[in-house]
Amino acid sequence: MANKRIELEQYKSFINLIEEEPNRKMVKRGATIALIISILVALLLLVLGFISVELARNPKNILEKPSQSKKSAIPSVLSDESNDFPVLASEIPTSLGAEENNLIALNQKIKFPSMAPLYQQPGEVKITPQKPQTAPEGKASEETKTEKQKKKKKVLPLQTKGIGNLSNLARSISQRGFQLYLILLTAAIAIIGGIAIGRIRRERKSH
């Protein structure tokens, strides 16, 4: 009895051959299902490709950054350093103490986000922050400039050209290059899948 139990335990770890060697009818059906699904996946990609043709035509699409999150109506003082916000003259009170004047001076240096023009009203005087004066350029600065230019030349563009660029294909053959490319590949997959299904069926008939 104990030996029988051990045998059964060992048998568990072997593959059930009846289950693992499915009959030909089952294989045929299984392969057909699997290949039809893979053709469906190809068709799905074709449809999704057709949906996004306009994006494919845009050469900058691939390098496009995700859209930035919208800034709140009250601009955050410390969030963005790229844009200078003009201080409106109407906002400056006429009689101010020394401390308050200093605060305004500080305020002029603070940088605000790009929605600044929304705050400007017609006819108002802008007090724009002055740019720091640059020192006269000498030979050293010219040399550094040429070095920088050389470096810039060496840096590869992020946008591909010619055959490397998908938008060139999308804009070729009267703007239908991408569609034709997708149709061609989907048809190739469908034909190959169809041939495979046909072979499996014929194999079964011959046996």
């Binding site: 060697e21 999704l48 995700p66 563009p157 190959i192």
Partner: protein
């Protein structure tokens, strides 16, 4: 108009159970399971390597404003740094390539069959890549030589990866062969520590065979990495596009 990641993700999750059902009927339950987790792990290892090395990323939708609409970067399920949908696409591609190669060139030698499977997978990816790239399902960052905005090394990688996987699966699970080239290495490592048996591969039990399969797949991964590294380096040297930083 944009086909967002959620469309790709949902369609993959819906189609995969039907595909897997077909695979079970074709290969048998245990073999289909081995195929599925083998290709998942193989793909996961290679894709993770790509993401970690900064060659590719799946995070376009998870940046800034999009994060509000697509909390998980647009994908429902992630396996580490790789979304499940990408691995499902990979598995469907590998399995259908394998079935087509087996049915059309079943009597050819294993290398020819694996090459055919690799070519079919390449056709699949030539279709999927432009759609994926256009809709930002994934972004290629690598400084490399590009064809239709697909890095050429990726096309080579798809062919070689499917070639290696098909070869390993066929030799280990379907034919249960001992490979003389690997026998010494297997005896010293796998057979010594993980499969404590000196039997021939055809006489191993199913759990032992699965371990041999995973070991050979790991070796396949390493070999693929060793082959791909110089190719990527050469294509890096003749690049026609610069490096895009993963997070911009």
């Amino acid at each position: 108009m944009k086909a967002n990641t959620i469309v790709f993700d949902a369609s993959m999750l819906i189609l995969f159970p039907f595909f897997y059902y077909g695979l079970i009927r074709t290969l048998g339950r245990s073999r289909a399971r081995a195929f599925a987790y083998g290709s998942f792990l193989f793909g996961l290892a290679l894709e993770t390597t790509f993401v970690i090395c900064g060659l590719k990323n799946y995070y376009w939708y998870s940046i800034n404003n999009y994060y509000k609409h697509y909390p998980l970067g647009g994908y429902i399920i992630w396996l580490g740094v790789v979304p499940l949908a990408a691995l499902i696409l990979w598995t469907i591609t590998v399995a259908s390539s394998y079935i087509i190669a087996e049915s059309t060139a079943g009597k050819q030698n294993p290398y020819v069959r694996s090459s055919i499977a690799g070519c079919i997978a390449l056709i699949f990816y030539l279709l999927a890549e432009p759609v994926g790239i256009t809709n930002h399902w994934w972004v290629w960052n690598a400084k490399n030589f590009y064809f239709l905005d697909i890095p050429v090394f990726n096309l080579l990688y798809v062919f070689l990866a499917v070639f290696v996987f098909t070869l390993v699966y066929r030799a280990t699970i379907m034919e249960r062969k001992d490979t003389p080239a690997l026998s010494t290495l297997e005896q010293r490592t796998l057979r010594k520590f993980f499969v404590k048996s000196k039997k021939a591969t055809r006489n191993l039990t199913w759990p032992e065979l699965r371990r041999v399969f995973l070991f050979r797949l790991a070796l396949g991964c390493v070999t693929l990495g060793a082959v791909m590294t110089p190719i990527i380096t050469v294509l890096w040297a003749v690049a026609n596009r610069g490096h895009i930083k993963p997070g911009w």
